[in-house]
């Protein structure tokens, strides 16, 4: 008689095992270390450490630079996600309504999204340069005078917005378009027979059917947006005067310039708490919405 078969659950475990252990080692373990460090006053600039309980967290929350960066990041997230969503949706809708979509159009639009973020920073740094940037020339021709995009705090933030929109709007566009293309025809035909106009159909048929896709798109974009680093680092390095110092940049500086490990760890965890809370409330709310409309 042949040997007893291994329980399927265990077999599956063997396949999943290596990847799981690897992730445990390379991501979970450092995160645990970080958690520990956040309860100490560890710095690489001085030897020895001691427990501080929540003291480090308190000093983080009390730090004005941190608070500024945090607020800046929230504003950044909100503006960027909303603008990209609206533009992406509009463009997706526009292409969805065309009878024959040129496949080239879509494959070209993925390029900004996949472009190396440091190169994205490079391109916009060139275009927004006060002396020879083409955008500066354009705006001066339009009567705005010589705008110092990257050296004026407010303009620098706007530059970051514009760059990020260029970089990520295609993400919204492509995912929303894929979602729209996958919608069933019947509700639309039924609405047409009932005499619904374009705007009515958009608000009462398209959008309700797109609820799930829109929720997923927003949640994923938010997840990526919090980690924005490379492009802004190259464009402004957080300047001028920390006007574009979004949280990832701030964290990097705290960890690697100031070598304040415990502080950086506390910031990391605060950041994680915010991210997780954000994603889960959105997720929970969107699931409720979806089940109500379907």
């Amino acid at each position: 008689m042949k040997a007893k078969a291994l329980k399927p659950g265990i077999v599956g475990g063997f396949f999943l095992g290596p990847a799981f252990c690897y992730l445990l080692l390379i991501i979970i373990y450092p995160m645990c270390y970080s958690l520990w460090a956040s309860f100490t006053d560890l710095r690489l600039t001085k030897p020895g450490w001691s427990f501080t309980g929540f003291g480090t967290y308190a000093s983080v929350l009390g730090n004005s630079v941190f608070r500024e960066s945090f607020v800046l990041t929230i504003i950044f997230l909100f503006c960027v996600v909303v603008i990209e969503f609206i533009l992406g949706f509009a463009l997706a809708y526009s292409l969805n309504r065309m009878r024959r979509t040129h496949p080239v159009m879509r494959s070209l639009l993925i390029l900004p999204l996949m472009a190396t973020p440091v190169t994205v920073g490079l391109i916009w740094k060139l275009m927004l340069n006060s002396n020879f940037g083409i955008i500066t020339m354009l705006t001066s021709k339009l009567g705005f005078g010589k705008l110092m995009w990257l050296s004026t705090p407010e303009l620098a933030m706007i530059s970051v917005f514009i760059m990020d929109c260029w970089h990520w709007m295609p993400f919204m566009f492509l995912v929303l378009l894929a979602g729209m293309d996958g919608l069933p025809k019947e509700p639309f035909e039924s609405a047409a027979v009932d005499g619904a106009g374009q705007w009515f159909t958009l608000f009462h048929v398209t959008i309700p059917l797109m609820r799930r896709v829109m929720a997923i798109t927003l949640i994923f974009r938010l997840m990526f947006a919090v980690a924005t680093f490379d492009s802004v680092f190259v464009l402004t390095k957080g300047g001028p005067a920390r006007a574009t110092d979004i949280i990832a940049l701030y964290l990097f500086r705290t960890a690697f310039r100031n070598m304040n490990i415990s502080f950086a760890s506390a910031v990391s965890y605060l950041l994680l708490i915010v991210i997780f809370t954000m994603v889960f409330t959105l997720f929970r709310r969107s699931m409720k919405n979806v089940s109500q409309t379907s």
Partner: protein, 277 residues
């Protein structure tokens, strides 16, 4: 004009506007390409140089002075190595999750998704210290390993969504015929999930090629991959725009070619398989 003619005109207008938007988005890329061939005076002039005499000076410069050739090789090694390693770990994991009643499956999938939410910046410091302790600091191996770790959740989730579409009857039929789990993975599952494999390969390769943070922090000198050099070029006291742009083109060209040509495999991967492309 008749109604039909008006409709047709509007349609053409619609298409035209769409193309205009596409062109606007392509402009920055085109501008950079042009800039890589402009003479220094053209680049820095206060009037946009639409027409210019091209030059290959910057290209020669980056290969000779900045030794881009060896950095290019670094990037290639890290990207290819990272892609292979990630697939080697991720494919079996996706197979296990898709086909077997693993203990606490939903919780695990959820955990994997949560890992993706952690910004790499947050792990940079402990990994920095850990890598020095293990002696892997400043090595290409380290970068391959780190990139693999951060791309793994993506690969597992996307491949799982592709694998879920293969009917389980095929597995059962093979089981009855006497095939074990491994054989089924290689003979049945992998051939049938080729689009998913291509999707994952492209994404992992591109993301690893683009990676900047760890590359910047964990390695130095000769081992630096390309994105780090851009960072260096731009933080110089006097930025050499010409070479910087040429470098940008070198970095971005493989990515653009891959993305544009294999586009149809990529839509699915954008949302980790949550939405069918």
């Amino acid at each position: 004009m008749s109604r039909r003619q008006v409709k047709k005109l509007l349609e053409q207008l619609h298409i035209g506007i769409n193309w205009l938007i596409v062109a606007t988005f392509m402009f920055p890329l085109v501008w950079m390409f042009l800039g890589a061939f402009k003479k220094k005076t053209d680049l820095l002039s206060s009037d946009p140089a639409w027409f210019f005499a091209p030059t290959l000076d910057h290209w020669r410069f980056i290969f000779e002075n900045w030794h881009i050739g060896s950095h290019l090789l670094n990037s290639l090694i890290i990207s290819v190595g990272g892609t292979l390693f990630t697939l080697a770990l991720g494919l079996p994991a996706a197979y296990g999750l898709s086909r077997y009643p693993v203990w606490q499956k939903e919780a695990l999938v959820f955990d994997i998704l949560s890992l993706k939410m952690i910004p790499p910046v947050a792990t940079a410091v402990p990994l920095f210290m850990l890598s020095q302790k293990v002696g892997l600091y400043n090595s290409l191996t380290l970068l391959i390993m780190l990139n693999t770790a951060f791309q793994l959740p993506f690969v597992i989730l996307v491949m799982k969504s592709f694998l879920d579409e293969i009917p389980y009857e095929l597995d059962e039929s093979a089981q009855l015929d006497g095939y074990g789990a491994f054989s089924i993975l290689f003979r049945v599952i992998i051939p049938l999930s080729l689009p998913g494999l291509i999707c994952c390969t492209i994404f992992v390769f591109i993301f690893t090629w683009n990676e900047f943070l760890f590359a910047n922090v964990m390695v130095g000198g000769k081992l630096r991959p390309l994105p780090v050099i851009v960072g260096l070029a731009l933080t110089h006291r006097g930025i050499l725009w010409g070479p910087a742009l040429a470098l940008g083109v070198v970095i971005i060209l493989p990515v653009l070619i891959l993305s544009a040509s294999l586009f149809r495999y990529m839509v699915r991967g954008l949302t980790f398989g949550a939405i069918k492309g």
